[in-house]
């Protein structure tokens, strides 16, 4: 006998054997082999509705595949399995997390290809991928634009093309830009707050931290010091800033000036 396989066990099924049984065996066997990649999973899930009763799918099959039974989940996986070869290859390479892939399952081809290329270059975690795709979707829907237009924004392009930033810095810069586009009023308040605090002339080792999203009254002051004398100095300096009344403008809400409507 030469090189190569010694032999192989073949199982031949008669013609009368139905598709459902064959697929059940195939899926069961595949589940006990090394973990399925996202494309294999999508291909299996997309076949299920044609072979099994709707009642059987969530309880038995989806749970075996470790897929949460959420509304629309079968449709999303089915759309994902129908992507073109190029995009499926990106998925097979593991460049995009399953959760993010499902989020973009229904996107138009151009937007999907654009975001896949961005996510592949950023190499960020699954939760950050989901955050990025959600932000893009929400900005696009709110503004009535195509998702691709958000990614083709010149500021987005500059970040992604930057030679000075590594992939972590690019990820952070993109997240900040998307946060600013998604929450413009909150972002401008944050910037204004930073400028106001700066103008107080507090010692460099004193930080005033607003409540998250400025909601409520739970403000914090953070001091860092190296000894008792340093602490006394910081307290004296922070105390005089607080007593001067300059903080009132930064912390206290000013009564709103009612304006007539514009139109």
């Amino acid at each position: 006998m030469g090189n190569g396989a010694q032999g192989t066990v073949c199982r031949i099924f008669p013609e009368i054997c139905n598709d459902r049984d064959l697929w059940t065996r195939k899926i069961e066997k595949r589940l006990f082999e090394p973990a399925l990649d996202i494309v294999e999973k999508a291909q299996i899930i997309s076949i299920l509705p044609g072979l099994f009763n709707p009642g059987e799918i969530p309880g038995v099959l989806l749970s075996s595949l470790n897929v949460a039974n959420r509304p629309d989940i079968l449709r999303k996986w089915t759309s994902l399995s129908a992507w073109g070869t190029e995009t499926l290859e990106i998925l097979t390479r593991g460049a995009i997390a399953e959760r993010a892939a499902l989020e973009i399952a229904d996107w138009d081809d151009g937007s999907r290809i654009a975001v896949l290329s961005i996510l592949e270059s950023l190499r960020c975690s699954a939760s950050i991928q989901v955050e990025i795709v959600e932000r893009i979707t929400e900005i696009a829907l709110r503004d009535g634009k195509e998702r691709r237009a958000i990614m083709e924004n010149p500021r987005t392009r500059d970040i992604l093309a930057s030679k000075e930033l590594n992939h972590r810095q690019r990820t952070q810069a993109l997240r900040e830009l998307l946060a600013e586009l998604r929450f413009p009023r909150l972002s401008s308040r944050k910037k204004r707050f930073s400028l106001d605090v700066e103008s107080l002339g507090l010692p460099p080792r004193v930080r005033i931290i607003p409540p998250p999203a400025f909601e409520g009254n739970n403000w914090k002051m953070e001091l860092s010091f190296t000894g008792v004398e340093g602490l006394r100095e910081i307290l004296a300096s922070a105390g005089s800033a607080a007593m001067s009344g300059r903080l009132d403008h930064v912390l206290e809400p000013q009564p709103h000036q009612a304006k007539d409507e514009q139109d």
Binding site: L186, E215, N217, A258
Partner: protein
């Protein structure tokens, strides 16, 4: 607007012989009635079904306020669940295990619990409403519940009833002895939002016309601008509704106007996205609030309220206007004070009842 007419009424046997079931049979002659021991929870909504159950929980509840935001201290008379108006922002969509219209047939127990509570503290004012888990008047043409509630409250010296609705189903209120103890209240919005997000509710014109008729019948009125929604041109939209309100209704009949910016449990976002794909309201600048709900960023809320309060004060500087579930800093910024400076929000509303409706249980001596 169109009345929902169920084709199938499922009644639990414990309430099958009750007054509510009898009224429904009278008003729904072509519907099929089916008696069952117990109605199980359902997964999908059947708009043709009305369920009549014996509710076994607490029938009079406190408004589910939270620690960080001022609550009105209103009490909820729980008479049913769900609503078929299908407003895109409605929290009832998240009640996934009870998707069908459901009313409680154990009326004797509802009124029994009510009387027991009112007798417990005759010197306290009970502000009671039915519009928390359903629309107060949506099914009224079928249930005629208002014909029982309004005369009941007319005799309750320490309580007022607030019926909150987005309908114009006020026929049953005509000719009732309300004794000046019932407030008929409408949820209002800008016409743009009404068209897009509340398409099956009465139009703003229909609601205001119904309010005008109720005022003519001697009822007191209230209005709730809740949810206020951010969109381009909101000032003009909400300003116009306020103008129409004050052009239609004498502010002297209005006991209070509440304002509440759109807020929602985070899980509602996905439900809205699925059930109302054309709606854009979930994509506003929402941040997690201190009660776990998503709320507009505070500056946006303060701007809404300041604008609305200014317009309300121009119409009537003494009209009681309040914020629903808002923090002290937003109150201060929008109204110039916060409720604790005036004895708390509950006290402010009690005073509004005393002043406008002349109801003051503190001075009441039980016989």
């Amino acid at each position: 607007m169109k009345l929902p007419v169920p084709e199938r009424v499922i009644v639990e046997s414990a309430v099958a012989e009750g007054a509510l079931a009898a009224t429904l049979r009278k008003n729904l002659p072509s519907a099929s009635f089916e008696i069952v021991d117990a109605i199980p929870d359902a997964n999908t909504c059947d708009p043709k079904v009305l369920e009549v159950v014996r509710f076994r929980g607490k029938l009079l509840k406190s408004c589910p306020g939270t620690r960080n935001y001022h609550c009105c201290g209103y009490r909820i008379l729980h008479f049913g669940v769900q609503c078929s108006l299908g407003c895109s922002y409605c929290i009832l969509q998240a009640y996934l295990n009870q998707p069908n219209l459901r009313v409680f047939g154990n009326l004797d127990e509802i009124f029994g619990e009510l009387s027991e509570n009112l007798a417990r503290d005759p010197h306290s004012l009970y502000r009671i409403g039915t519009g928390e888990f359903s629309d107060s008047l949506l099914l009224d043409p079928l249930t005629e519940l208002s014909r029982l509630l309004v005369p009941y409250f007319a005799k309750a010296s320490n309580a007022v009833l607030e019926l909150k609705t987005k309908t114009n189903f006020i026929e049953n209120l005509e000719g009732l002895d309300h004794g000046g103890h019932t407030i008929v209240a409408w949820s209002l919005n800008s016409s743009d939002i009404r068209k897009k997000e509340e398409p099956f509710a009465a139009t703003i014109a229909e609601r205001l016309e119904a309010a005008r008729l109720c005022a003519r019948r001697g009822y007191f009125l209230a209005f709730h601008f809740d949810p206020i929604i951010d969109y381009p041109g909101w000032q003009s939209g909400y300003g116009r509704t306020l103008d129409r309100l004050f052009a239609t209704v004498d502010p002297a009949r209005i006991v209070w106007i509440s304002l509440g910016a759109f807020r929602f449990m985070p899980e509602l976002k996905e439900i809205m996205r699925r059930r109302h794909p054309a709606s854009r309201i979930a994509y506003g600048e929402f941040i997690p609030g201190l009660d776990g709900k998503m709320r507009y960023f505070r500056d946006i809320r303060a701007e809404f309220y300041s604008f609305m309060i200014d317009r309300i004060r121009r119409a009537d500087p003494d009209l009681c206007a309040y914020l629903c579930m808002e923090s002290s800093d937003i109150w201060k910024e929008s109204l110039g004070f916060f409720p604790d400076e005036r004895g708390g929000l509950g006290h402010m509303l009690d005073l509004a009842v005393e002043k406008k409706m002349n109801i003051c249980p503190r001075s009441y001596t039980p016989s």
